[in-house]
Amino acid sequence: MDIPHILSIITYLPALVALLLLFVPRGFDRAVKLIAFFGSLVTFILSLHLFYHFDATRGDMQFETSCTWIQTATYGIRHHLGIDGISLFLVILTTFLTPLAILCSWQSITKKVKPFMICLLALETGMIGVFCALDLVLFYIFWEVMLLPMYFLIGIWGGERRIYAAVKFILYTMVGSLLMLVGILYLFHANGGTSFDLVEITRQIGTGALQLKGQEEIWLFLAFLIAFAIKVPMFPFHTWLPDAHVEAPTAGSVILAGVLLKMGTYGLLRFCLPLFPTAAVRMANVLCILAIIGIIYGALVAMVQPDVKKLVAYSSVSHMGLVVLGIFVFTTQGMQGSMLQMLNHGLSTGALFLLVGMIYDRRHTRMISEFGGLAHVSPVLAAAFLVVTLSSIGLPGLNGFVGEVLVLVGSFVRNKAYAAFAASGMILGAVYMLWMYQRVFLGKIGSAANAEMKDIRMREKLILLPIILVMLWIGVYSEPFLRRMGPSLLLIQHRIENAGSPEGGYRVDRSPAPAMDGERAK
C-alpha cells in the first residue's frame, strides 16, 4: 500500500501508452509493438504489487481511491476504484494476458499494426476499469467503452465473416448493458437519488436502510442479470459467442475468452448477489438449471464442431456454465471454485486460443479434418497443447481440477442432482477435448502441408511458458489464491444467508471451513 493511487495507475497506464502510440509516425511498426508490449508488461508488474500487498484477512475493498468526478446538485458520480479478493485476481488475469496477446500478434498482425495495438491497450484499460470500479456509473462507463475496441478488433482484423460477428457482438451486449443502465438509474432513485457508490448502496441494502420491494428487487435483479448473462454467456444468450470467437483475431479471442467472459460472472458476484440477495435466492434454482443446460449443451455442441476454434468457443459456454453453477449454489466451496474456475478458464482457454492461433498461422486452416499427426512434426507444440488440454478437462495436478472439484463439492451440498449433471458435463468435456487432440495431433500425418509444418519458435514458447507455469502453480498449490479470495466471498455468502428465503433452505452448514478447501486442493 505504499504506492498512492496504484489502482488508477494500473487502470489508465495502458490507455496512456495507447495515447502515446498515436504519435508514433507511420512505418515504425516494430517500435509500436515494443512500446505496446513493454507498456502492458509494466502494467502487469505493477499489478503484482497488488497481489503481494493484498491483505488476505480482509474481505472489504482495498487500495481504494475515490474522488468527485461529476458533481452537480442532483448527481454525484464519483471516480471510486478499489479491489477485493474477487477483483484482485481478475485484474491480474487481465494484465497477465494482455502482454501475451500482444506477443502472439507479433507476426500474425501485419496490417494496421498501430491501431491494433491501440485497441488492445484501450481494451485493457476498459477491462481493468470494470474490475476496479466501485461507482455504478463509472462501472457502466468502463463496461460500455470496452465494447468499442473489441468491436474494432473483431471487425477490422477478424476472419471472413468478421463484420457479421462484430455487429452481432455489439448488439447483443448493448441490449444487456442498456437494460442494466435502467436498473442502475432505478436503484439510484430508489435510494433517494443520493449516491451511485456501490459500497455505500451495498451497505445500505445489507443494513436494511434501503429496502426494495419483492417484485421490484426481482426486476432489478433481472435487469442486471441479463447484462451479465449475455456476457458470460449463459444459455440461451450464448449465440453471439461462437461467431465472435471464431472471427476474432487470436489476440482478440484470447482476451475475449480470457477476460471478457469473466466480466459477466464477476458482475454476478459483485452486483447481483450483494445488491439483490433475496431475488438471487429466489431465482437460484432457475439459474442453476440454466447453467447446467449450458454445461451439457455447450459440451455436446463442442463435440461435433469441425473447426478447432469453434470447438474451443463452445467449450467456453460449457465451462462458464460451471462457474455460474458454482456461484448460484451459494456455498463456500462453490463460490471459491467458481472464482478459481474463472482464472482457470481464462488461462486454459486463453492458452487454447493461442495454440489454435499458432497452428492457424502455419496452416491457414482450423478444420480438424485437415490435420492429423501434427505431433510428429511439431512435438513441442503438441506437448504444450496436451498440457493445456489436460488443464482444460481438469486433470489432477493442473489448475482445472481444483476449481472443478470445488464447484462440484459445493453443488453436491446444495443438490445432488446438480452435481451429478454438472459432473457428466465434465466427462463430456474430456471426450471432446481428447478426441479433438487425437484427431489433430496423433495418428498418421494427414497431408503434405502438415508434414512441412514447423514447430513453435522461441517467441511462442515464451508466450506459453508463463501460462503453463501458472497452471501448475494453481494445480499444485492453490492456497495463495484461495486464501486471498476467501474473506470477500464469505462476505457475499453472509449477505445471501442473511437475506434468507421463504423456505429457509439456504442456510447451509459451512463446514468444512475455507481452509479445508485449501487442504483438499493441495
Binding site: 446538485a73 442532483t74 460500455e144 477490422i156 463484420i163 435502467v182 439510484f188 432513485h189
Partner: protein, 481 residues
C-alpha cells in the same frame, strides 16, 4: 426604462441589423470576396452573444408589455442559436463558393432564422411565439431552396414550404381557439385564468391539441415527420445541418415554455399524449433509419429519433427532465453539427457522395475525417465518454425518477437499434475496402476543419466533464418555474 428594454433586446437588434447590412453589402462585394460576408455574419453572432452576457443570471424580466421574457432560459437558448448560426455560416463558406450559391442573402437569412428562433425561446405570448416561428420557418424555406438550379433543392424547399405552412395554419388555429377559450394569448394570463376556472373549456383543450400538432411538425415528431427525409436530403448540406439542430431546439424551447408556463395545470392531459408521441417518434425514427443508405436521409431519421428522446425529458417534467432536455439539446447540437461537418467535408461538386458506399474504406484515405465522424456517431449512439451518453443518461434518469420506467426501457432499446445504423457507417469506413468510386481525399477548408476539431473536443468534453454545462442547464431550466 425604454433604453433598458432596448439593451435587453440588443442581441435581436444586432442580429437583424447585421442581416440587413449583409444584404446592403452584397451588391458591392466582388464575386471572389463573397466569403467575407460569412465572416460579417459570424461577427454579428459573436457581438450578439457578448451582448447577452449581462442578461445571464439577472432577475427574470418581462419586456415589450409582457411579450418578451428575459431569463436564464431565454439566454441559454439564444446562446445556443448563435453558436448554431455561427457554425452554419462557417460550414457554408467554402460550400457555397463551390456550389456557386455564394450570396449575401444566404447569411442574412441565416441570421434572421437565428433571430426568429431566439424570439421563440424568449416569448411569453402566443402571438410572439407565432411570429418567431414564422421568421424562422420562412428563412429556412428559402435556405432549403437556395440552390435554385438543383431540382432536389427546389423539391426540398417546396415540400418544406407547403407542409410547413399547413402546420403553421394549424398552429395558428390552435392559438385562436386558446384565445377563444381563455381570452388571452399571454402565457401568464392563461395560467392565472386556469387557476380560477372551475373546468377547462373544451375549446382550450382542442386549441392545445392543435398547438401540439403544429409544434410536432416543427420539431419533427411522428406522425408529423413525413417531410423530414426529403427536405433534409435535398437541401444544401450546411442548411440541412442547421435544420437538424436550430428549428428543433427552438421548437422544443417554445414548447417547454408553453407547457410549463401556460398549461401546467393541464399536464395530465398533455403528458399522456407526449408519452405516446415520444415512443412513436423514437421507434419509427430508429427503425426506418436502419433501412437508409443515404447518409443525409439516415441523419434525417436519426434527427427524428432524437426528437423522441428529447420528448422523454419533457414527459418527465421539471426539474430533472427539463434540465436533461437542455443538456441533451446542447449535446445533440454539438454531435449533429459534427457529423454534418464531416459529411460536408466529404461531399463534392453538386453536393454528391452521400451514399453509404462512398464511405467504404474512408479510414485509410482520410483517417482524420473517419475518426471524427466515428466520434460523432458513437456519441449519437449514446456510448459513454461522449456527450450523447451523458445526455441520454440524464434524460432516462429523469424519466425513471418520475416513474416512467416503460418509457425508459423503450428508449434504451431504441438506442440499441440506433447502434446498428450508426455503427454501419463505421463498418463501411473501417472494415470495408474502398470501392472504385470511393472518395479521393480532398483538402478540407480550414473553417470546416476547425469546426471538426472543436466539435470533437466538445463531444468529449460533454462526455467526460459534463458538470459545467449541466449546471448551466439547471440554472436555465429553473427560470421556467
Amino acid at each position: 426604462m425604454m433604453t433598458n428594454e432596448l439593451m435587453l433586446l440588443a442581441p435581436q437588434i444586432i442580429l437583424v441589423i447585421t442581416g440587413m447590412v449583409l444584404m446592403l453589402l452584397e451588391p458591392f462585394t466582388a464575386p471572389a470576396q463573397k466569403s467575407r460576408l460569412a465572416r460579417v455574419a459570424v461577427l454579428g453572432t459573436v457581438v450578439a452573444a457578448f451582448s447577452l452576457m449581462p442578461q445571464w443570471n439577472i432577475h427574470p424580466r418581462m419586456i415589450l408589455k409582457g411579450m418578451f421574457i428575459v431569463d436564464n432560459f431565454s439566454v441559454f437558448f439564444q446562446w445556443l442559436f448563435l453558436i448554431i448560426g455561427a457554425v452554419t455560416a462557417y460550414l457554408s463558406m467554402k460550400f457555397n463558393e463551390r456550389e456557386s450559391i455564394d450570396r449575401g442573402e444566404y447569411y442574412a437569412l441565416l441570421l434572421f432564422a437565428c433571430s426568429g428562433a431566439s424570439l421563440m425561446a424568449a416569448s411569453a405570448d402566443l402571438i410572439l411565439t407565432f411570429l418567431g416561428i414564422e421568421i424562422l420557418s420562412i428563412s429556412t424555406y428559402i435556405l432549403a431552396g437556395f440552390k435554385r438550379d438543383d431540382a432536389r433543392s427546389n423539391e426540398s424547399s417546396l415540400k418544406y414550404f407547403l407542409l410547413g405552412s399547413f402546420a403553421t395554419a394549424i398552429l395558428l388555429y390552435g392559438i385562436a381557439l386558446i384565445y377563444g377559450g381563455t381570452g388571452s394569448t399571454s402565457y401568464g394570463v392563461i395560467y392565472q385564468l386556469a387557476l380560477y376556472q372551475r373546468s377547462i373549456p373544451t375549446v382550450t383543450l382542442i386549441g392545445l391539441g392543435l398547438l401540439l400538432v403544429g409544434f410536432g411538425f416543427k420539431v419533427a415528431l411522428v406522425p408529423f415527420h413525413s417531410w423530414v427525409p426529403d427536405v433534409y436530403e435535398g437541401a444544401p448540406t450546411p442548411v440541412t445541418a442547421f435544420m437538424a439542430v436550430g428549428p428543433k431546439a427552438a421548437g422544443f424551447a417554445a414548447l417547454m415554455r408553453i407547457l410549463l408556463q401556460a398549461f401546467p395545470l393541464l399536464s395530465h392531459d398533455w403528458v399522456n399524449v407526449l408519452w405516446l408521441l415520444a415512443i412513436l417518434t423514437m421507434t419509427l425514427g430508429n427503425v426506418v433509419a436502419v433501412l437508409q443508405t443515404n447518409i443525409k436521409r439516415m441523419l434525417a431519421y436519426s434527427a427524428i429519433a432524437h426528437a423522441g428522446y428529447i420528448l422523454v425529458g419533457i414527459v418527465a417534467g421539471p426539474d430533472a427532465g427539463y434540465q436533461a432536455v437542455l443538456f441533451y439539446l446542447v449535446a445533440y447540437t454539438v454531435m449533429n453539427l459534427l457529423a454534418f461537418s464531416v459529411v460536408l467535408s466529404l461531399s463534392r461538386q453538386g453536393d454528391m457522395h452521400v451514399h453509404l458506399s462512398d464511405y467504404a474504406g474512408l479510414a485509410r484515405k482520410s483517417p482524420f475525417a473517419a475518426a471524427v465522424l466515428s466520434l460523432a456517431l458513437i456519441s449519437l449512439a449514446g456510448i459513454p465518454l461522449t456527450g450523447g451518453f451523458m445526455g441520454k443518461f440524464y434524460l432516462f434518469s429523469a424519466a425513471i425518477q418520475r416513474g416512467y420506467i416503460a418509457l425508459a426501457i423503450i428508449g434504451v432499446l431504441n438506442s440499441v437499434v440506433s447502434v446498428f445504423y450508426y455503427f454501419r457507417i463505421m463498418v463501411y469506413m473501417y472494415m470495408k475496402e474502398p470501392g472504385e468510386q470511393a472518395l479521393e481525399p480532398e483538402t478540407v477548408s480550414w473553417p470546416v476543419q476547425a469546426i471538426m476539431v472543436l466539435g470533437a473536443i466538445g463531444v468529449l468534453f460533454l462526455g467526460v466533464w459534463p458538470a459545467p454545462i449541466l449546471e448551466l442547464a439547471a440554472r436555465s431550466s429553473f427560470a421556467l418555474k
